[in-house]
Symmetry: C2
Subunit: 241 residues, 2 copies
DNA sequence: AATAAAAAAGAACGCTTGATTGTTTCCTGA
DNA sequence: TCAGGAAACAATCAAGCGTTCTTTTTTATT
């Protein structure tokens, strides 16, 4: 056999992209082998190279396109909103909704940066800076306008984004709380945090002791989590590309 | 040559553990080869097997021991603190200080869970549940006591822990802000978030454009910001645990 | 119908991986 | 002092890796 019946380039390209996202999300970039990916799409591993230069570039393409999508949608969403508080809420809502909808892409973009080669990683980090700037500017303007109590906009930006992004570590569609419920909860936490509870900002910290050491076993409660097929192991090839 | 002069089992075991943490932190578990690890310690790869059963168990040992340490220290730190607000602040301060001090271990424990085999992963997740319970119980009691405005303690727990954990994505010792500075800032955000800014919690969301899936081509920055604050800005993304 | 292009198969490559084994050297305690 | 155990080496294994190349089949174009 060679070319299969009904085969089509653009359709295969899209299938590879989707399968790549799925497998990298599930197993990680290093752990995903190209044979595994090819099997998922129904190809031989060698045939994949009609669709990307090498494994590294597949990852880079996926992450870069995701970041472009994230940024453009965020900027579009915030375009008309001027008031800092409204802008903050809009950002939080957008970020949460986006992250709940496209968890696999987000997860990859956050986790696999380390697997990118230097130049690629620099590109992605620059994109991320730009995205973070949307929030940071909002916080800074709000602080200048006296709406927010934010002494360190950059730190607050990192903190807030970490908090919001964290939702895709546990959220699964169909749970007790709807997306809009969660947006309400998270937004409340964010806005409360930056509009200043006086007692909070003032307080240094109430800690007396520092010591440690004590053993404690046991555990409770279950929670849904990702799974791994304990199969493939991989290497990170230095000479690879 | 065989046994090297001055070689000592317990010392080598410790060296392997440390090198393992270092290399997994730097390259990831999958990407770290045992030959790389052996070279770091000054051994041949085969010799490593005197110190662990296999690569998977090395990872598991590292993560499990880290979680045990985290939990026991946290429980010790919170032992005497009864008041919900004080307890919340103490938890935040502990978590931040711990994560700023042992970033490599924390990073591994959060990132490499997917690389653990099913049974091992279940053990670690149970430990994490227990740790999260410390915060969740505090939030729940504070809410019952009317000190906090927290409708969903579990969600708030995830959100807060993600935010706090995120600090080790960018914090590097020696930056402009001290550990205590950062603890103050983060604690302010946390306490503000749960002590309820009325306007925040009430507001549903001020968004008119709901469709996050609307296509928006390209991306134009009205205000792209690339402020380089010394070195504090760095590498990894704001993701959570 | 003839031909070119596209799509995929399939075999092969050089290498690295985690893991195993047998052997040699060093250290230590009776 | 000298055996016996601890510690590490050295060589090896099969498996799997990313990648390349050639061949074959299908589709599209003329």
């Amino acid at each position: 056999m060679a070319r299969t019946i009904g085969s089509n380039g653009t359709r295969t390209a899209e299938a590879i992209r989707q399968a790549g996202v799925k497998l990298i999300y599930k197993h990680g970039y290093e752990a995903m082998s190209l044979r595994q990916l090819a099997a998922e799409v129904g190809l031989q591993s060698g045939s994949l190279y009609k669709y990307f230069e090498n494994k590294q570039n597949l990852l880079f393409d996926i992450v870069r396109e995701h970041m472009e999508d994230l940024i453009s949608k965020a900027e579009a969403d915030l375009a008309g909103v001027a008031d800092p508080l409204a802008r903050l809420k809009a950002f939080a809502a957008f970020h949460l909704r986006y992250h709940m909808t496209r968890m696999a892409h987000v997860f990859i973009a956050n986790m696999e940066i380390r697997s990118l080669e230097d130049e690629h990683r620099a590109t992605i980090i620059a994109q991320r800076r730009r995205y973070e700037g949307l929030l940071e500017d909002t916080l800074r303007r709000g602080a200048e306008a006296g709406v927010f109590e934010v002494r360190e906009p950059k730190v607050a930006t990192y903190a807030i984004i970490s908090m919001l992004t964290g939702i895709c570590m546990w959220y699964r569609p169909g749970g007790r709380l709807s997306q809009e419920d969660l947006i309400g909860i998270y937004t409340g936490l964010v806005v409360g945090g930056v509009t200043g509870a006086e007692e909070a900002v003032a307080a240094p910290l109430p800690l007396e002791a520092k010591a440690s050491m004590a053993t404690s076993p046991a555990a409770r409660t279950p929670k849904a989590k990702t799974k791994t097929t304990g199969k493939a192991t991989a290497k990170r090839t230095a000479a690879g590309a």
